[in-house]
């Protein structure tokens, strides 16, 4: 996935590619959809920012994007919160990871660089989300591609059904004007019975 112009507008876009020069190519339709989703997410993030800007430093946001490696929780380092146990809060591992992240941030590294460093240290499972490259890109593409393919199929079905409708026009015996008038009147009088049983 190539970097989109609009994903440069914010530092914190979670959709930003971890690998700017990927060899993986996607069809233009999928690229467009991904772009739309990315844009929507960026809008969401930037819209949410004013409320949170003061109390959410970059380190804390990054903490939510890597998993705590203590082995006893399924949380991210930023949200690690061992319910039960001796202390219900971030464990030693999570605090250590958070410290590392903060250190990286003070060194002025970009989000991508920092996450890459975490992957090198802890392996690919450290990332909360699948990376958007290679085989793992499929994780992101399929939830968009499958509904799109389904949409095409539904469209095809609709086209065929409409064709059926024109082949067999609704006809039946002729109806007198009087009957029609009475029918209209009845229909107006009985709410709640128009559509369903």
């Amino acid at each position: 996935m190539t970097k989109f112009p609009n994903s440069r507008t914010t530092e914190r876009a979670p959709h930003q590619s971890l690998c700017p020069q990927s060899r993986f190519s996607v069809s233009s339709v999928l690229r467009f959809s991904l772009r739309a989703v990315t844009l929507a997410t960026i809008l969401a993030i930037s819209a949410a920012q004013p409320a949170k800007a003061q109390d959410t430093p970059r380190g804390k946001a990054l903490g939510k994007r890597v998993l705590c490696r203590c082995g006893g929780c399924e949380d991210s380092a930023g949200l690690c919160n061992h319910p039960g146990g001796t202390f219900s809060g971030p464990c030693e591992t999570a605090r250590g990871m958070q410290k590392d992240l903060d250190a990286h941030v003070t060194r002025g590294e970009s989000d991508d660089q920092i996450l890459q460093a975490m992957v090198e240290q802890y392996g690919p499972t450290v990332l909360v989300e699948p990376p958007k490259k290679g085989f793992d890109l499929l994780a992101w593409i399929m939830p968009i591609a499958v509904p799109l393919i389904a949409l095409v199929l539904v469209w095809e079905v609709v086209r065929r059904w409409r064709h059926n409708a024109t082949l067999a026009p609704a006809g039946g015996p002729q109806v007198s004007a009087e009957f029609l008038a009475r029918a209209r009147q009845e229909a107006n009088r009985e709410p709640g019975l128009e559509h369903d049983e």
């Binding site: 969401a44 319910p83 994780a139 399929m142 509904p147 039946g172 229909a187 107006n188």
Partner: protein, 689 residues
């Protein structure tokens, strides 16, 4: 007693096998006696499994710690309430519980229909007994709940030191919701067996018409309602018990319960296409097959030791039994479909793209897209490991990013779909029906934006939520207005009258409204705040409009647990508002500590306070406070959904229908296809329940 339990289970297994074999023989030879005997065997399974469940409960209540299952999941001091719930605390008991609930459903189905549908019921009995046989195989031969502790050893002394007291029930499960949540979810899982059995039976027996849908409509709705309640109670348990300020973590087990709920929802909608227009027959059959298979998959993910991680997939022995059963189910379903597919040929016609029909198509498309996205995310780590040989993580942010847009689109359809007419809707009607609700939604959006509801998804959710609510309200008012003008009753009486005339339709609207409330509750999530602080007596912290002052710490003790408790006074705008008592409980039998969250709930926001324990660094007590907007709407929405389902289950008030059966459907429809319509109406009146 353990002999009695084991024996009852074994007999139940034999009865189920007999019900399958005799049922098939009865169908082939067309001998009523065999069919009847198979049915009675099917009903006997219920009695036998009930005896087994009774035995296990007896062991729990008499503290008989010679049974392994009782030792592992109970202890003497456990309150009776939880001893009852300990039945489903572990693998063996849960599977027995599954079996038991299924046998209850099967018994009711067979008993209530014993004099009806003589062509269809034998097939239904065989399918239900087939499912029952699988679970009883597990109960008897794979995970038997009546295993006795190893007998006295050489010295005549029972070993296992803790045996006399039991290990105790997992403290996490010692919470009132945990007594209700699993049964609800299991009633949902097992309940979908009923429409599945009828669908497969109708297909196998080439049973004519849409009758199986009419028969199972209520069963499906009941199963769906249980599933909804089960999911929401689980969410509420996670919220109130785990102390992390959230209610949904997208973990594999939660996802597993959501999948059949989504396809079940799609099924409840798309059957209307078949009932009203005779369309989508193949689709409906496969939708109900899929729902059932997802129920089995869900049970497997929950019950095969896969609870904490999907990566353990292939290592658990019970998992392979489920995989086998899933494969058999799929093969049977596919064979039945392939052999009888001509019977499902339907007359699909679509008059206009802007119609109720196409809105149902999109509804199903969106629901299945959501289902696929959740399933894909849940199983992707396994797939990735197969393909690349290395694991990856798929966490909550992935599911949120993928599913939030899908859910919002679904919310839009909830508003649009019900107002489109069958066959065709004119542009004028569209304008008339949607102009005001849409304007109302936009207005709510503007107000929300000014009132700092500034997150694009939350704002969209608010706009759509108000839009849907207004369309529902306009439907009620429009109908009630006509009735009140004619009968001279006031508008609210008319509204009641309107609802009772078509409970399914208006009950459906109430359910939609409940879903809107749930969506609004979820839309509060981006505005969550939390603060963690070390606090001694006399210190305070500020969060939102609240100031929390630490008054005291004390220690409580009872037979089941010891507890450290903080006493906090909460001030709002400078005035004392309430007292909160978050706790940490150390359960004696299991030696596990759990937090007991203190929650002050209001429609606008929840104040959620956790006593996190002593800081490992300074040794001082730590209080973690959360401010969570709109959460209460989720639980309230759940109640509305249940009420709506109850309403939709009521029979219609039929006085008018008897006099004028043809008014049941739109006169325009009737005119459009006069001659066939008479047949259609007659068929519907006959199948009308």
């Amino acid at each position: 007693m353990d002999i009695l339990g084991s024996f009852a289970l074994l007999l139940a297994f034999l009865a189920a096998v007999y019900a399958v074999l005799a049922g098939i023989a009865g169908i082939i030879t067309r001998r009523t006696l065999l069919t009847k005997s198979a049915r009675n065997a099917g009903m006997a399974v219920f009695v036998l499994v009930t005896i087994a469940v009774g035995c296990l409960e007896y062991f729990f209540f008499t503290n008989d710690f010679s049974i392994v299952y009782v030792v592992e999941h109970s202890n003497r001091a456990l309150p009776g309430f939880y001893k009852f719930a300990a039945l489903w605390a572990g693998q063996e008991g849960s599977l027995l519980f599954w079996s038991w609930l299924l046998s209850i459903y099967a018994f009711l189905v067979l008993f209530l229909n014993r004099k009806r549908h003589p062509e269809l019921m034998p097939y239904v009995g065989v399918v239900l007994a087939g499912i029952q046989t699988f679970f009883l195989t597990l109960n008897n031969f794979v995970a038997t709940p009546f295993r006795v502790l190893a007998g006295p050893d050489g010295t005549g002394v029972m070993h296992l030191a803790k045996m006399s007291e039991g290990h105790g029930l997992t403290p996490l499960l010692q919470y009132p919701e945990m007594v209700i949540h699993p049964p609800m979810l299991y009633l949902g899982y097992t309940g979908f067996s009923v429409p599945f059995a009828f669908a497969l039976a109708a297909l196998l027996g080439r049973y004519p018409g849409e009758k199986w849908i009419h028969i199972t409509r209520r069963w499906t709705m009941i199963a769906w309602c249980f599933q909804s309640v089960g999911i929401l109670l689980g969410a509420h348990w996670a919220y109130a018990m785990l102390g992390w300020g959230g209610y949904w973590a997208w973990d594999p087990v939660e996802n597993a319960s959501l999948l059949p709920w989504i396809t079940g929802t799609a099924f409840l909608h798309s059957v209307m296409m078949q009932e009203k227009r005779g369309m989508m027959k193949i689709w409906n059959v496969w939708l109900v097959f899929t729902t059932f298979m997802l129920c089995i998959l869900g049970t497997m993910l929950t019950r095969s030791g896969v609870v904490s991680s999907v990566h353990a997939f292939a290592q658990s022995s019970i998992g392979s039994w489920f995989v086998g059963f899933l494969i058999i189910t799929f093969v049977v379903c596919f064979a039945a479909y392939w052999k009888n597919r001509d019977y499902l040929r339907s007359d699909n016609q679509l008059d206009s793209l802007v119609s109720r029909e196409s809105s149902f198509l999109f509804n199903n498309l969106i629901l299945l897209a959501a289902c696929f996205a959740v399933l894909w995310g849940t199983l992707f780590p396994v797939l990735s490991e197969w393909v690349k040989g290395s694991k990856i993580s798929v966490g909550a942010p992935f599911f949120n990013k993928v599913n939030v847009p899908i859910a919002l689109f679904l919310l839009l359809l909830t508003g649009v779909g019900p107002l489109l007419a069958w066959r065709k809707t004119s542009f004028d009607a569209l304008k008339r029906n949607f102009a005001w609700p849409f304007a109302g939604g936009l207005l709510a959006g503007v107000i929300g934006f000014i009132w700092s509801f500034r997150d694009i998804y939350s704002l969209l959710c608010l706009i759509l939520g108000v839009f849907v609510t207004l369309t529902i309200a306009s439907e009620f008012f429009r109908g009630a207005h006509v009735i009140s003008a004619r009968d001279g009753t006031n508008i609210f009486t008319s509204m009641g009258e309107l609802t009772m005339r078509n409970t399914r339709r208006y009950g459906g609207y109430v359910i939609h409204f409940g879903m809107v409330l749930i969506f609004i509750g979820i839309a509060g999530t981006p505005f969550n705040k939390d603060l963690q602080k070390e606090m001694g007596v006399g210190e305070s912290l500020r969060i939102g409009p609240y100031t929390i002052l630490c008054q005291n710490f004390d220690h409580l003790d009872n037979a089941n647990y010891e507890s450290d408790r903080a006493t906090l006074e909460v001030f709002k705008n400078g005035r004392s508002d309430m007292m909160l008592f978050p706790e940490r409980r150390l359960f004696k039998a299991s030696q596990v500590t759990e937090t007991m969250v203190a929650i002050q709930s209001s429609p606008l926001r929840d104040l959620y306070v956790v006593y996190a324990g002593q800081s490992p660094e300074s040794g001082r007590p730590v209080i973690h406070a959360y401010l969570l907007p709109l959460i209460k709407w989720i639980w309230f929405g759940g109640i509305v959904v249940v009420l709506g389902t109850g309403l939709a289950l009521l029979p219609n008030r039929r006085t008018v229908l008897v006099l004028r059966p043809a008014t049941e459907r739109s006169w325009a429809d009737t005119l459009a296809e006069s001659a066939p319509a008479i047949g259609a109406v007659a068929r519907r009146v006959e199948g009308h329940d």
